[in-house]
């Protein structure tokens, strides 16, 4: 760790900053006027995907307060008169907590399990956002567009997740202890 050269330092900083930067990029991409059918509709859910994937790989580099700030920024940018500001933040924080508490089912398991886990958590996220938006604006919002978003983002997951998972390539198993699951070596069930 000592006597780092400039590049080593940059490397370390870069690695720490990467998840946050990628998340910020996807938050801004939410607003990009992309007109590809279906895909553009699912853009608002991509930050949640990023949060899920990075919480799997390197949760310590995506701390809760950062997620809170990003979620509030997303809500401010996405707008909508009367829509709750902070509901995405709540969703992000809960996704991170859910992933960390279920690492033993989600990390080091076949990809299909991760996909399944994402399906469950994204479902929770979509329902949460829909519920609070409906509550805050006090209107019965048609849930079908939200369902469409959900379906598209679930389909996109296998395309995007492996790309994001590469952030782990440099340190495959060097995850610090506090972010690892509570399972001890050899333990399979609780």
């Amino acid at each position: 760790m000592r006597a780092d050269g400039l590049f080593a330092m940059l490397d370390r900083w870069g690695r720490w900053a990467l998840p946050g930067t990628v998340l910020l990029f996807f938050v801004l991409l939410t607003l990009a006027p992309l007109r590809a059918p279906y895909l553009s509709g699912a853009l608002p859910l991509l930050p949640a995907l990023v949060v899920f994937q990075f919480s799997l790989a390197t949760p310590e580099r995506l701390p809760g307060p950062l997620l809170l700030a990003m979620g509030i920024l997303l809500d401010l940018l996405l707008g909508g008169p009367g829509a709750p500001v902070g509901v995405s933040a709540l969703g992000f924080v809960l996704i991170r907590a859910a992933v960390i508490n279920n690492r033993r089912y989600l990390v080091g398991v076949p990809f299909l399990f991760q996909w399944f886990g994402f399906c469950l958590l994204a479902w929770g996220y979509v329902v949460l956002v829909w519920f609070f938006t409906a509550l805050w604006t006090w209107t019965a919002i048609d849930p079908v567009p939200a369902m469409m978003q959900y379906v598209v983002v679930v389909v996109i997951y296998p395309l995007l997740a492996p790309l994001l998972a590469r952030v782990r390539a440099r340190d495959p198993l060097n995850v610090p202890d506090e972010s690892r699951g509570t399972a001890r070596p050899g333990e399979t069930t609780s």
């Binding site: 801004l28 006027p33 509901v87 048609d142 509570t182």
Partner: protein
């Protein structure tokens, strides 16, 4: 050995408690933000405008490549149906030429009638052309971000039009950015006229591609194909901007298809009608508008 194990157990328990506490704090903070937003909408409005102004240069930088990608996608789609499209356009051209003749004759007639009746025109509108740099389209909002703001003379409540018709109105204004709320948004309510019968109504969005016509005195008088235009009630919109046409007159609910094609908007025009503030109370532009204002 036993002491060390005990220590580890206690340490891990403390760690768990702290972690759980941290989650609780974060959740409380998120709820707090939501409640503050509900209680103090002015503060949230300011925060939104600030976020918009900060994000708009970044969005503008990525808007061009995104627009290029969109054009490529649209081109590919059009290649597939070039022949049919050409035939359709030729036919439409013939029809439009006939209309043009009719319009010229009517315009002449109109001018003469106005001279006769000493008719006073409404305030003249001027236009501010803007590029769409961001979509704020999700399952809950239908809108877009523009690269012009207060500095160019944009004010809250102004109409936003495309070549085809009304797209929406300005909802929030920053220094160099503004947010449009499309007519299809669930929060959009417009005073309108049915062009054929001159009957007044309210046109409401519900986040679906079509609009809903409500508050009609008589639903029976509406026919499929009727054009809906702005009525100018409320004062901030010019009279007679086309919005859409009636496509469905089912039991009690009249559906309207907007003329503006929201899936391929790239540039829009903000109509500065001189009269603002009646709808949303935004401050009138203080500095003389500069830059991209055209007549």
């Amino acid at each position: 050995m036993a002491i060390r194990d005990d220590f580890e157990v206690v340490a891990s328990q403390v760690r768990t408690v702290v972690q759980r506490f941290a989650l609780g704090l974060l959740v409380i903070a998120a709820f707090g933000a939501m409640l503050v937003g509900k209680a103090d909408s002015v503060l949230v409005e300011h925060a939104r405008v600030l976020a918009l102004d900060l994000a708009s240069p970044v969005l503008e930088a990525i808007a061009r490549p995104v627009a290029a990608a969109n054009r490529a996608i649209a081109d590919l789609k059009e290649f597939a149906s070039l022949r049919e499209e050409n035939a359709r356009l030729r036919e439409e051209n013939v029809r439009l030429l006939a209309w043009q003749t009719a319009a010229r004759r009517l315009e002449n007639e109109n001018v003469r009638m106005r001279d006769l009746a000493n008719f006073r025109e409404g305030p003249e509108a001027s236009f501010i052309t803007a590029r769409i740099v961001g979509d704020s389209v999700s399952a809950y909002v239908r809108g877009a971000l523009l690269n012009v703001g207060r500095r160019a003379g944009v004010a809250s409540g102004q109409a936003v039009v495309t070549g085809e018709g009304l797209a929406g109105r300005i909802a929030e204004v920053g220094e160099n950015s503004a947010r449009v709320l499309f007519v299809t948004d669930v929060n959009s309510r417009l005073p309108v006229l049915i062009e054929r019968t001159r009957e007044r109504a309210i046109l409401a969005g519900d986040n679906s591609p079509q609009l809903r016509l409500t508050l009609l005195q008589s639903v029976a008088g509406v026919q499929r194909g009727d054009r809906i235009v702005t009525s100018g009630d409320g004062g901030s919109f010019p009279v007679g901007i086309p919005i859409g046409e009636v496509v469905d007159t089912g039991e009690g609910s009249v559906r309207v298809r907007p003329f503006a094609d929201f899936s391929r908007l790239e540039f829009v025009r903000v109509v500065d009608y001189g009269v603002t503030g009646l709808v949303s109370g935004g401050p009138a532009p203080s500095a003389p508008p500069a830059g991209i204002r055209v007549r």
